[in-house]
Symmetry: C2
Subunit: 235 residues, 2 copies
DNA sequence: GTCTATAATGGGATAGAC
DNA sequence: GTCTATCCCATTATAGAC
């Protein structure tokens, strides 16, 4: 049931999205610092002072570039969103080519998480921070007072994965499909944070930061969950 | 494979843990207000002003009763922890009595989440807020600067569930056991928050707040995931 | 235990020089 | 674009009367 895949050509990216001629170095430094600060202490727990200090710039420069705190947060999330969403779309395109239905399901589930893990593990510290931040954002109630920039960036991509699974197993009831994928997203939201719960529970024998080891288990485990509903629907 | 269980006698509780003679009403009002505020806006996003206002007391009373903000947060988490952990322990005791191995696994997985869902859905607004707050806390990186009161309260309970599964299927490898349970915890951490992602993705057809509908699907889905590792180990 | 008043700090944001 | 200096506000926490 498990499919071997090559090391996935998500990284290095073909070209940086940012036009280095116009983009001021300090603006990028602020984004990097903000990314790290927000993921460590959350939105309200992070002060613009801390961000500016970490970036090595005066506070006023943050306001100049991003207007206010909310603008900074949105900019952090949106900077890497296009590349990340594109990576997910691309991996889905490959996955749906798999022949057999069972293997295709597993490939689609892997395609949802593999490019993200790839960036987190081998994309550098910036990507690591960004992916963890995405995990945090995914765990925010959607009616949050401040910004929720994620939906616009990722919602369509998520829906396309759900559609892909539906087209593999049309006999799956809408409820089983939606709940199953929700469970998958739910687990991933926590996993991406790398909270350290499994580290503590196993005295360090297993590490929540070891996404490379976790990934094949995750895909295999959730494929079985989906398949159990498929089999139940077939009866 | 699915086991029917009666409506679970977790609520109403036999007796309130709090001695109503000594406990000042206002102190409880503050805890209720803090519970609601923390879950809505997070720790750093909540001000003691807001809490005091919501509780209908002056700010100073909060400091008097709980010392500081961190003390208030700890008190909120710890107030309901003994009753909640006891409910989980009790449900585990019942679950391990199930005869067949397959059914016992499913019963143990249900026992982990059922009493919590029961309190969230039928324990009143206070319990609803508390359970959501637990979800948020579970998603915090453990090396958080401030308080992490959960481990002491719940860690032993979690370990006893893992032990129970290990004793059902000793042939399961340590890695499969730990990763599987981690996936289960991860999904639950997000689900308890009732973030609203599935609501948005399905235009309201499915609701993350509908824990009653979700629960049997969740248990069934994750049982299949565990069983797939059991079967793989048996070969 | 409960309250009013206030101290002391740190926060986001802006004015204006360079 | 970048900087220094500063304003104004919200926040936590405490002092002290009742």
């Amino acid at each position: 049931m498990t499919i071997k895949t090559s090391k996935a050509p998500y990284l290095p990216e073909p070209a940086p999205k940012i036009d280095r001629r116009k983009a001021p170095k300090k603006k990028q430094a602020i984004l990097d610092a903000a990314e790290a600060t927000f993921v460590q202490r959350g939105y309200y727990g992070s002060s613009l002072r801390d961000v500016a200090l970490a970036a090595g710039v005066p506070q006023a420069l943050v306001s100049y570039h991003f207007g206010n705190k909310e603008g900074l947060f949105r900019a952090v999330v949106e900077r890497r969103a296009p590349a990340n969403a594109a990576g997910m779309r691309q991996s889905l395109q490959e996955a749906v080519k798999v022949r057999s239905r069972a293997a295709r399901l597993e490939a689609v589930l892997r395609a949802f998480i593999a490019p993200v893990v790839e960036r987190s593990m081998r994309g550098g510290q910036g990507w690591k921070n960004y992916i963890r931040l995405l995990g945090h954002i995914a765990n925010l109630p959607q009616q949050e007072a401040f910004v929720m920039p994620v939906p616009e960036n990722y919602e369509a991509v998520v829906l396309s994965f759900i559609e892909a699974i539906r087209s593999i197993y049309p006999e799956l009831s809408e409820a089983d499909l939606q709940w199953s994928f929700y469970f998958y997203q739910a687990a991933i939201a926590h996993i991406l944070i790398e909270s350290g719960v499994i580290d503590r529970q196993t005295n360090g024998a297993f590490k929540s930061s070891d996404l490379d080891k976790l990934l094949p288990k995750l895909v295999s485990f959730f494929t079985a969950g989906f398949q159990s509903f498929v089999k139940a629907a077939g009866r």
